[in-house]
Symmetry: C2
Subunit: 335 residues, 2 copies
């Protein structure tokens, strides 16, 4: 096993960066100087976000293949760019490395970075590589461009609330990941949804280029309710969510039934689905449905925006209403 | 002692961000959404860099006051922007927080961020806050703008090599920091140079706006020789350094003499001075000296660029020459 120490800091940077394939055609300087340098296209806005994954909190090395970790570390930041309607362009990666990691592990991690960079045409333009004896961490900064931006502020009473894809898969997948005997097709599907979320970059890009009047948007990283509260707070509105309309994958339904797991906590508070959560007035629904049908991506109305600020209610199957508290989502300080 | 857990992730972000004072006049969105959003000025290049500081590697909590740590974490990244001739504009800060840290510690850390942001007119526009049970880390990404950029590539044989300020202070300061009985004025000066380096943003900005033909530039983070090797490799040249011309502070000289410390290793290989190291043809020296005299900042010629690639020699006081090996600088993987 080749050790990182044998290469040294600069040898390692050279070794890893030589594996990166995608290069933006307009870059002025990539890896290898004090900064990455690039031009900004006139008439577009710059959008930038940064996210860290810490060993033991966001992933465990014994359950996460390094390629998947590389893909996820980038996807999580790309998802933030998508949530603003941006097109990701460049990424900077900081690695905090404990001695236990081998060069071969990092090669696989970079394979994961490479895949996502190629898929979304994102250049890995720089970063930092430091020793971190006690824990492994990855910090990814992604810079993108946007003509039209979506924010959390702008949802209006009467707007309908939509989500892409299905909910709760990642959260249930995380539970399964930590259990023994987690083989089988359904388990595999759910675990993969946790380990390898897909950033909805294309879908958000399509919405940004459409004429649909999206009034607010966020990506679901902390759970549906928590992220909906973010929209409600910024927009000074409330919301109601219909239990019967929460989109669930067949794998999620079968696994909950089989193992007598209550689906609701996963659907409402499960983090890391990285689906888009957004609002629009009712007259935009036809266009929206047409667009998602064409893209073959599921989009579901899950509720509507209400007048009373900061109140999110769940309307249950039996007709009763329940006020959902804030801060029940995935909170890194309670893990 | 108020604990971070009491505030929760979002409460903490709100608490800390409400303390930030400097806001760029052209920002579209700062802290509080998925991304920060800003326009790019036409005709300027975007420069971006990211740097991490890890507890136990880059700082110890028992020797580093939180305000100083905040100032240093930002200064280190600002120094990279300066080294390219850029003007820093925005920063994103990721904090990896162990439970032992209190809200009051973070308040002081943010006071440090605030000071540097105000001094250099940099907006703290976003970031991420995660739990990191085993070690405290800070990752700072800084984005700046530059009309004219300085790179490592471009030094030519015959060019003269300059450094700003004095060398070795930070490295000697680090040694003193770890010792007992480190009181006294000289010790205090050197320790402060280690704990609180100043990014040469103004000096680099003045050079970028001047007509001086700077052919290459880097900031000294890994030590004079290591960083000079970075220039030599990128420019495919060699260099010679004159021992007698290495700029030393009176405090450095007195402390070395008093404690019988050999100054040379600190001057050549001491990291974290964050001074500028740059090259220019001889005919630019008069302009350079005039500019630095006016700014009351020390600038010293320490050597010259030579033809033979990747060979850096030291010309010693006694007239002998010594080939200096690559990779003797501050290397995070050997600490």
């Amino acid at each position: 096993m080749r050790k990182i120490k044998e290469l040294g800091e600069f040898g390692l940077i050279h070794h890893l960066s030589s594996r990166l394939k995608f290069r933006a055609s307009d870059s002025i300087l990539g890896i290898g100087d004090d900064c990455a340098v690039y031009p900004a296209n006139p008439g577009v806005k710059q959008v930038i976000s940064t996210d860290a994954l810490v060993e033991g909190i966001h992933f465990k090395l014994n359950t996460t293949p390094p390629e998947a970790l590389g893909r996820k570390a980038l996807s999580v930041s790309l998802s933030d760019i998508a949530a603003m309607g941006g097109t990701p362009k460049r990424a900077l990666v900081t690695l905090g490395l404990p001695k236990k990691l081998s060069v071969s592990f990092l090669d696989k991690l970079y394979s994961g970075f490479n895949e996502i960079c190629n898929q979304f045409k994102v250049e890995l333009s720089g970063g930092d590589t430091v020793s971190s004896p006690k824990s492994f961490f990855i910090n990814v900064t992604v810079i993108g461009e946007a003509k039209r931006i979506f924010t959390r502020k702008g949802a209006k009473p009467g707007d309908l609330i939509f989500v892409t894809g299905t909910l709760g898969d990642s959260s249930l997948g995380l539970n399964l990941l930590n259990k023994k005997n987690n083989g089988g097709k359904d388990n595999k599907f759910l675990i993969e949804k946790h380990l390898e979320p897909t950033a909805r970059v294309e879908e958000a890009g399509n919405l940004a280029h459409s004429k649909i009047n999206i009034t607010s948007m966020i990506d679901i990283s902390d759970g549906l309710i928590q992220d909906l509260y973010h929209i409600c707070k910024a927009s000074k509105v409330g919301a109601r969510i219909f239990q019967d309309q929460l989109p669930q994958s067949p794998e999620f339904i079968r696994t909950c039934t089989k193992n007598k797991i209550s689906p609701l906590p996963h659907l409402l508070n499960g983090g890391e689905d990285y689906e888009l959560l957004f609002t629009l007035p009712a007259d935009g629904v036809k266009n929206l449905s047409r667009q998602f049908l064409k893209a073959k991506v599921l989009v579901t109305q899950v509720g509507e925006i209400t007048l009373k600020p900061r109140r999110v209610y769940l309307e249950m199957s039996d007709g009763t209403k329940k006020l959902l508290p804030d801060s029940e989502g995935f909170n890194h300080f309670y893990v």
